[in-house]
């Protein structure tokens, strides 16, 4: 059923004109996309994997569903952010393909998570669906101030990467779910890298991020310091990497991304959530 639902979203037959229009405009974003068949096949796979999993695997699935709902909250926030971003004209023409692609990825992530949560017997209650990207007026005009839009985008993407990473261990007993979470995680990292580069920064998290996202005063700086908290870590599974390599410490810090706990992520995004 869920498989069919996703499939239908790519199938223009039996659709109203308006639905087809929405579909076709999405298609334009992927003007270099290969065959539609390939897309359908790929997009359908993970859902198929989930729905084929024995229910037994989720005997104690409340934690897993909690993780998925948490991820869904972040994906909805991102998706809404890029819908508005693309529609508002804040995105420059030469970056439009990138942000339309990001929007489409986030849409797929939202749909995938919603479908999966429901397939596992969960519901979507309590998952935020309304957002205020000014964070109550703290960041005015995110959809007319291009620099602010890009700074927020970077913060959301880098936070998303850290959020998925932090939840990976909670999915370790569910290999199929973990795999898809990792597949989303890496896409968020691609987004982060691209947006950072559009902003003239390195694609990876660097020393300069600890100074905050500049141009928007102390508030953004404080907010973004939470986004990058702990990213200077150079010790991994007990190995202090700076002691075993001649690579400069700055590069060692860049070479590992750090996880964030669910609570730390929620604290970061809370100001953007209305309900």
């Amino acid at each position: 059923m869920d498989f069919n639902k996703l499939f239908d979203s790519f199938n223009t037959e039996n659709k109203s004109e308006e639905e087809v229009d929405i579909y076709m405009s999405r298609k334009e974003a992927f003007k270099k996309l290969g065959s539609l068949t390939k897309k359908v096949a790929l997009a359908s796979l993970p859902v198929a994997a989930f729905t084929m999993m024995p229910k037994m695997a989720f005997a104690q699935s409340s934690d897993v569903i909690g993780v998925l709902k948490f991820a869904l909250a972040l994906e909805r926030l991102e998706y809404q952010f890029y819908i508005k971003g693309v529609d508002s004209g804040v995105v420059s023409g030469r970056h439009m393909d990138v942000f339309m692609a990001i929007r489409e990825h986030e849409r797929i992530h939202v749909e995938l998570l919603e479908t999966t949560i429901q397939a596992l017997g969960g519901n979507l209650d309590g998952v935020p669906s309304m957002f205020d990207f000014t964070a109550g007026g703290v960041f005015p005009s995110p959809f007319s101030n291009r620099q602010l839009f890009l700074a927020l985008s970077q913060a959301f993407e880098d936070t998303g990467v850290r959020a998925y990473k932090g939840q990976a261990p909670n999915l370790i007993e569910n290999d199929d779910l973990l795999k898809v979470a990792l597949q989303i995680h890496a896409v968020e990292a691609r987004h982060a890298s691209q947006v950072r580069r559009i902003r003239g920064r390195k694609g990876w998290i660097t020393e300069e991020d600890y100074d905050g996202i500049d141009g928007f005063g102390a508030t953004f700086m404080m907010a973004s310091s939470a986004v990058y908290a702990g990213e200077k870590n150079t010790t991994h599974v007990g190995v202090e990497v700076t002691e075993v390599t001649t690579v400069p410490v700055m590069a060692v810090r860049e070479a590992w991304d750090e996880p964030l706990s669910m609570q730390m992520v929620l604290d970061i995004v809370k100001p953007f959530i209305v309900s």
Binding site: R94, D97, Y164, D175, V247
Partner: protein, 238 residues
């Protein structure tokens, strides 16, 4: 030996690149290395560039089983990436490389070397030996050849970690793999962005999900670049 020079731009000017006759890998002498823009950080790296001469490398390695096997698998891939970017840098980057391109490739070299040395230390006595590589199909003078190969390695690395994550049983190892794979994905996008500015991932991740490959598929894809025989038969399958 002295450390790699890590100052940005300094010593990496493409027009100071080596003449084409000296660029040939096999013609590299110790003297040429010493006078090249980059000084080597350690003898082990030096050895990587003189494959036939001093093969400390075993002919064959066995990755082992369980989590150790998966970590050795990651170590093998990091060795491949590190060796590749080290060679790119050692040969003075490709003709006409921009300052930005050199900055990205130099960052990638440093990151991958750090990853490699991390795995070596983390695995300790369980670590496989140093692998021997063959990059003869890469034209290191040619921008397209260098960047496309980098793209191949980064995309493959991301797909490899994504496929390997579910094979791990220790959550600490899973987290560290996660810490590395997102950086590999950042690399992949940066390389894409050099190849086709502002088109990164637009036509690649068309289903919103990264690829995830099982180890055998990854090792097959990497096989043309790896001389040392890798026995992956004891790796966990699922």
């Amino acid at each position: 030996m002295t450390k790699f020079t890590d100052s940005k731009g300094k010593g990496y000017k493409p027009d100071q690149g080596l003449s084409s006759s000296r660029r040939s890998f096999l013609q590299y002498s110790g003297a040429a290395l010493a006078t090249s823009a980059i000084l080597l950080s350690g003898c082990e790296q030096f050895e990587e560039f003189i494959p036939p001469k001093n093969p400390n490398s075993p002919k064959k390695v066995n990755l082992g089983s369980g989590d150790i096997g998966i970590l050795n698998y990651a170590y093998a891939l990091e060795q491949l990436e590190a060796a590749y970017y080290t060679k790119v840098a050692l040969l003075g980057f490709y003709l006409g490389a921009s300052a930005e391109e050199i900055r990205v490739l130099e960052d990638l070299r440093q990151h991958e070397v750090a990853h490699r040395e991390f795995f070596e230390a983390a695995l300790g006595k369980n670590a496989i030996g140093k692998l021997e590589f063959d990059f003869s199909m890469v034209d290191f003078r040619d921008r397209n050849s260098v960047l496309q190969t980098a793209k191949t390695f980064e995309d493959l690395g991301v797909a490899a970690y994504n496929g390997a994550g579910p094979l791990l049983t220790n959550p600490d190892f899973l987290v560290v793999a996660g810490k590395i794979v997102s950086v590999e994905a950042r690399h992949a996008t940066a390389i894409y962005d050099l190849i086709a500015p502002n088109e990164a991932f637009v036509d690649f991740i068309d289903d919103g999900l990264e690829r995830a490959f099982p180890p055998m598929q990854v090792l097959q894809a990497a096989a043309p670049f790896i001389v040392t025989e890798i026995d992956a038969s004891n790796l966990p399958k699922a």
